[in-house]
């Protein structure tokens, strides 16, 4: 019986997991926490600072700098259009 997880496709290297760069507009954030809660990779946490409206906007959590896979969920779910990601293309990654 095959054990799941031990079968590695031969061409797995052709399908790299995307990597994403997070962009934020802290002044727009209203602290709803949707992006923080629903990011599949738990990339985001609340900042310790407040924006001018008094909300804790999202920042990338310590140790999670390489975790974003550019799924785009935060861009779709944010009610205030204050966060999005863009794919970091392979050649942009510094060696």
């Amino acid at each position: 019986m095959a054990i799941l997880g031990l079968r590695r496709p031969l061409d797995l290297d052709k399908f790299p997991i995307p990597r994403g760069q997070v962009y934020t507009i802290p002044s727009r954030c209203k602290g709803c926490n949707f992006c923080i809660e629903f990011c599949p990779e738990d990339v985001l946490v609340e900042s310790t600072n407040l924006n001018a409206k008094g909300y804790h906007y999202p920042v990338v959590a310590e140790g999670k700098e390489d975790a974003c896979v550019n799924c785009g969920f935060c861009r779709l779910i944010c009610p205030e259009f204050s966060i999005y990601t863009e794919e970091i293309k392979a050649q942009e990654v510094s060696p």
């Binding site: 507009i25 949707f34 809660e37 779709l76 009610p79 259009f81």
Partner: protein, 276 residues
């Protein structure tokens, strides 16, 4: 990757009247994601932004057209559907969408919804259901679950709500779906599909209204209601729609999905004898 990069503008900003942002909706309101999905669907539709038109009635949801940077028409309470139907009839190059709320569409606008669906007018209808009249402070509406508390049902709502997808499917709408403000990918895809489809399409979107509905009914803040969607929603497109009722306070599954996707001749004002 460095940490987040702080910027001044968002890729969706050209779709919005950025000089009117931030919008008026409360923190935790589900309307922001709905608007983002609609804007993404416009971008992906292959139809020029100038050909998109959005019509709404009155309410928080109906404020969406004010923010989207396309020809937008903010009409009277319940009357967006006949206004939009006429636009679709007079100019078939327009991609006409109607975005309004549960009270606007199912109470005062109910009659117009019945007839537009029956006729199969080519409009894309998005009905955001937050179970109350939010703009006016959280009153009971036609989708408020029985027993729920609102400012006009302080002892618990006396009435049974509409089973929205069941009603609309029964009228012959060619596409009937229900998603939530959390299920943004499926919602965006459903809106895109509705734009491609000819005929009357209808998408119900459940959205948190923390001030009007959430707090009076112990559903917490917007985030709490989104977590509830995550726990309780089940995607079941083949469900018997007669059982698609919702009561957010009960711990029962809420069915989501693209329930109906059929073909039917769209409405036309050109009699058969006149068609070349």
């Amino acid at each position: 990757m460095p940490t987040e990069i702080v910027v001044e503008s968002h890729p969706l900003d050209p779709l919005f009247r950025a000089d009117r942002l931030p919008h008026i909706w409360c923190p935790g309101c589900g309307l922001g994601p709905v608007m983002a999905c609609y804007a993404e669907a416009i971008l992906d539709s292959g139809i020029p932004q100038d050909n998109h038109v959005v019509v709404s009635g009155i309410g928080c949801t109906a404020r969406i057209p004010g923010y989207v940077n396309i020809d937008s028409y903010h009409t009277t309470h319940g009357r967006s559907i006949p206004f939009a139907s006429a636009m679709a009839v007079c100019n078939s190059n327009l991609e006409v969408s109607v975005i309004s709320g549960d009270g606007d569409m199912f109470a005062i606008g109910g009659n117009h919804l019945l007839h537009a669906a029956r006729r199969n007018v080519d409009i894309n209808v998005i009905c955001v259901n937050n179970f109350n009249y939010g703009m006016t402070g959280g009153q009971a509406g036609p989708t408020t679950p029985g027993g729920a508390r609102t400012s006009t049902s302080p002892y618990g709502c006396y009435e049974a709500p509409f089973n929205v997808p069941w009603v609309v499917a029964s009228l012959g709408a060619v596409f009937v779906a229900r998603w939530t403000a959390l299920h943004v990918r499926q919602l965006k895809n459903a809106i895109s599909h509705a734009m491609e489809k000819k005929g009357f399409t209808f998408i119900e979107v459940l959205a948190p209204c923390p001030i009007g509905f959430g707090r009076p009914n112990d559903l917490g803040e917007g985030l709490d209601e989104m977590r509830l969607y995550l726990e309780e929603c089940v995607v079941d497109p083949d469900v018997d729609l007669a059982r698609a009722n919702i009561d957010l306070r009960q711990k029962e599954p809420i069915v989501l999905g693209n329930f109906v996707d059929i073909e039917r001749p769209p409405f036309t004002t050109v009699p058969e004898a006149f068609r070349e």
